[in-house]
């Protein structure tokens, strides 16, 4: 039996957001314990929309906090983020998001 992937959707809005500084960015690989991130500039009235595909159930709240803090700390806005997760811990999640952003900064 194939395990169903969970789709999680979030929207965040930082205080005084800055426009996402790149048209398109791909970072990371969907290896075990890791994840890939696709970030795109999108006019969302300053918001950031995130879709997470993950095999892990029950960690939606943790994802919300990891992503929320990333958006608040970096103050990015007008972006859509897609994450394909393969059992990454929140630690890896935070690290990959920060590393992805440092690719363009």
């Amino acid at each position: 039996m194939r395990k169903q992937l969970n789709e999680l959707n979030f929207e965040f809005r930082a205080d005084a957001p800055k426009d996402f500084p790149s048209e398109f960015l791909h970072y990371g690989v969907v290896g075990s314990g890791d994840m890939e991130i696709i970030m795109e500039k999108k006019p969302l009235g300053g918001a950031v929309r995130v879709k997470v595909l993950t095999p892990v159930s029950g960690f939606s709240e943790v994802w919300r906090r990891v992503l929320g803090r990333f958006v608040n700390d970096t103050r990015i806005g007008n972006a859509s983020i897609e994450i394909n997760d393969c059992n990454a811990t929140p630690v890896v999640g935070s690290l990959r998001l920060r590393q992805a952003l440092s690719e363009i900064e």
Binding site: G33, V56, F59, V62, R65, V66, T89, P90, V91, V92, S94, L95, R98, Q99, S102, E103
Partner: protein, 554 residues
């Protein structure tokens, strides 16, 4: 007239036991492998204290097997006093009724069975010790009557060559023999002349050549291929925020991947920071293969080893300026001395754990496993008997703000005791918890105290991917708890942190984040490792390191 008091009862008892073994002893002190069980039945009495040598590395496995074949009607209710119980046969002795009580330091893979047997009433637990503490009790109230030890070579006079894996043998044989106990050694080879006398023949009563070499566990081998980017990040943080900040020269590393990552970024990141010769020069450490690149690039001056590590023997012998070698040219480890060195003579202990509670107590105990901690607590504590000064020790003492509450204006140094954990471990288990599982284990296994590896009052630093908490800089428990919450990430403990509180601690330098440390996260990846897999370690060693088969993945 009163009866003359006798003072030689132990000697008399010894001679009586040995006379039972005499028919099996030939050619000096040699016993044939097939006679060993009969010999054990002759020299061991019910309720005796017996030691089977074995720690987290080498094992007197043949003698353990032989003991398990004894007639339980003759040999029963033994009190086992030994470093570790990692082999199935160690627990079989309790199942069979040959053994009854256990005093030990490390459970390893049998930790679950220890807990289960305690519950089922098959095993009475004396105490879980640290290595030095157990060795100490061998000379006070837990002296073995019979010790079953192991060596690479033995001769007919009883001389033993324990070489690279000398480990616990000197401590056990000295305690046993000088209280008129009986020492039996299994040796891999009976020889005419041993390579070096590590244990003098007078201390050994019988020698048996075992059918196969003693079991040896490569416990300290970490394949660099499994080191993650997060571990590289934390290694960078530790090197900058602790090693460099304090000038840590003498130290011990735990066995995890976090510290393996540190060893592997010394020749890269450490070099960049200009730290060679300023940090990590003297070690109490097993021969970690992951330290090879740092040794080869001239970082390390000396290493004293608790034990040997499978595959590292030739490398150590070829690096005589670094390791402790005998006149014969082979290394000698010694657990008792290395633990003493780790307790008194190192600036820092750094290692991992499974859980840290909100106060800073840490433990690797889980609810159903009596695992023990081996030697970690001997190094993961402040050595109160220490008097000599080093820069790192003095600086940590100066920063230890609550010291004055006990010492007034008297200055004193402090050992750096560092726990390095990712906020979430395997299977998303949080590393920070409200209450340690050790409490549940204490209840399940009927222990008097929850087994704690490092107590909060000894812990000076926590490193997580979120930041470093400098706990000894905190004033009182409330501030320390806030500092712990501040680096606990998205665990429940971490989520209870208040932003203003964490920010204030950052201002005071009690918490330092990746940004505070000035670390570029984009560099936190595996390319910073001096060796990325086992093969590269072999290359660094110039072919001298010979990894065990299970690590030969190229």
């Amino acid at each position: 007239m009163s009866e003359t008091k006798r003072w030689d009862l132990r000697k008399t008892d010894y001679l009586e036991r040995m006379s039972g073994a005499a028919p099996y002893i030939r050619n000096g002190k040699v016993v044939a492998a097939q006679d060993v069980t009969k010999v054990l039945e002759a020299v061991i009495r019910p309720f005796d204290r017996v030691n089977i040598e074995g720690n987290n590395q080498k094992q007197a496995d043949f003698l353990a097997e032989a003991l398990s074949k004894c007639d339980v009607k003759r040999i029963h209710d033994l009190h086992m006093v030994q470093s570790a119980v990692p082999l199935a046969v160690h627990l079989d002795l309790f199942e069979l009724g040959i053994a009854r009580k256990l005093d030990f330091a490390f459970g390893g893979p049998m930790a679950g069975r220890v807990a289960q047997f305690i519950n089922e009433g098959k095993l009475e637990l004396g105490a879980i010790h640290t290595y030095l503490e157990l060795f100490a009790r061998y000379f006070i109230d837990l002296t073995p009557r019979v010790a079953l030890v192991c060596a690479y070579e033995g001769d007919a006079s009883g001389n033993l060559y324990t070489g690279f894996n000398t480990e616990d043998t000197p401590a056990i044989t000295e305690a046993t023999k000088f209280r008129q106990g009986i020492v039996i050694a299994q040796v891999n080879r009976l020889v005419d002349k041993v390579s070096r006398v590590d244990i003098p023949g007078e201390w050994v009563d019988m020698v048996v050549e075992s059918p196969g070499p003693f079991f040896l566990e490569p416990l300290f081998t970490r394949d660099p291929a499994h080191i993650t980017d997060t571990q590289v990040l934390m290694a960078m943080m530790a090197v900058k925020g602790i090693y460099q900040a304090y000038g840590v020269k003498s130290l011990n590393h735990g066995i995890g991947f976090n510290t393996a990552a540190i060893e592997l970024i010394l020749p890269t990141y450490g070099e960049e920071l200009g730290l060679k010769g300023k940090i990590c020069t003297e070690w109490a450490l097993n021969p970690h293969p992951t330290l090879i690149p740092a040794i080869e690039t001239g970082w390390v001056r000396t290493i004293h080893c608790f034990g040997g590590e499978l595959g590292m023997q030739r490398y150590c012998e070829a690096r005589g300026d670094i390791f402790f070698l005998g006149p014969d040219g082979t290394m000698r480890s010694n657990r008792a001395f290395s633990q003493t060195a780790g307790h008194y003579a190192v600036d820092m202990f750094i290692g991992g754990t499974l859980q840290i509670d909100k106060y800073g107590n840490s433990s690797t105990a889980t609810a159903n496993r009596v695992a023990g901690f081996g030697g970690a607590p001997n190094m993961g504590c402040d050595a109160k008997g220490r008097r000599h000064c080093t820069e790192a020790w003095l600086k940590c003492g100066e920063e230890f703000v609550s010291q004055g509450e006990y010492l007034g204006d008297m200055p004193r140094g402090k050992r750096l005791v560092v726990q390095m954990v990712e906020t979430f471990g395997e299977k998303m288990a949080p590393a920070f918890v409200d209450k340690l599982d050790a409490w549940r284990l204490a209840k399940n296994a009927n222990l008097r105290l929850p087994p704690v590896m490092i107590y909060a009052d000894d812990l000076t630093h926590i490193v997580t991917e979120e930041g470093i908490a400098y706990l000894h800089k905190c004033r009182g428990l409330e501030e320390r708890m806030a500092a712990i919450r501040g680096v606990a990430g998205f665990t429940e403990v971490g989520l209870s942190a208040k932003q203003e509180e964490t920010d204030a601690l950052r201002k005071k330098g009690i918490i330092r984040t990746v940004e505070d440390l000035g670390i570029d996260v984009s560099r936190a990846n595996r390319s910073l490792l001096a060796a990325r897999n086992m093969y590269e370690l072999v290359e660094w060693s110039g072919g001298l390191y010979d990894p065990p088969a299970r690590f030969r993945n190229w």
